[in-house]
Amino acid sequence: MKKLFIALALLLSAAGAKAALFITNNTSCIMVVIINAHDANHGICGLASGRLQLAPGSSAAFNNVATLNTTAPGWQNSQTATTAGGTTVWGWDAAIVTNGGIMWAQIGNTGSCSPTASVITPNACNGNSVTAAWSVLGGNTFIDIN
């Protein structure tokens, strides 16, 4: 019984520790990312962020959905996110990655509003193709733009 409790406690602490969103732009172009998420008050993709602009060779990190309540680019339409209920209730769903032109890569979790994990756009940055990839590793979500 005690063992079970310890295992459960470990599981819970692990889940709480791992649910951040990490974004990396490794291209030589400015990239704009719009993030979708859900929480206790918003269904899958019910939350939509403002436009996060990432300079070439820059990264961004958000600890949880409520981080965007107070951190740029924020949520659209005065939306507010909550971490109530923990990571089984809230989560990152999808994103749109755009170069402001021809590239409009919609990536995300299976079953979300953008169920494709990786999108390649030819000629998206200085004649080069750009890959926008969504992955969940160890409970954290990563968007890699290469």
């Binding site: 520790a17 791992k18 990490f22 974004i23 490794n26 060779g57 990264s59 958000f62 600890n63």
Partner: protein, 143 residues
Amino acid sequence: MKKKLLAAALLSLLAPAAKAALFINNTSKCTVQVRVYAHNENGKACELESKIMTIPPMGTIALNNAGLVDTKPGWEKEMKISGDPKAAVWDALSFHNGSKTLKVGVSGGCATVTNGMIKDACGADLNVKWSVAGHNILIELYN
């Protein structure tokens, strides 16, 4: 089988070090103070030691490449990244609670462990974990 697994684990630890972003995620209930260590493309492990970075609870730091540390918070001894900042390699992170230090990082660097536990400045047990996640390096601090 075990040997193969170990080799694969070692490779996964070593391979993506260059051209990787470093993400630090503080999910603990206490403000943390850390330093990061890196080396230039042809340099020695941990030759660069950053100044202290302070991260509040639920705070994060995202560093696309080691060149970003040049300006904020800077390296000790006023060192700078030389050569291609994207080719510089992250080696380790150290956490200091006021009396003791825990350093985690890649094997072959200046850290002897990839994760460990130490008291945070608020007196609670703090896990400090270095891991490779895809193309990125992730350091998680959590109670």
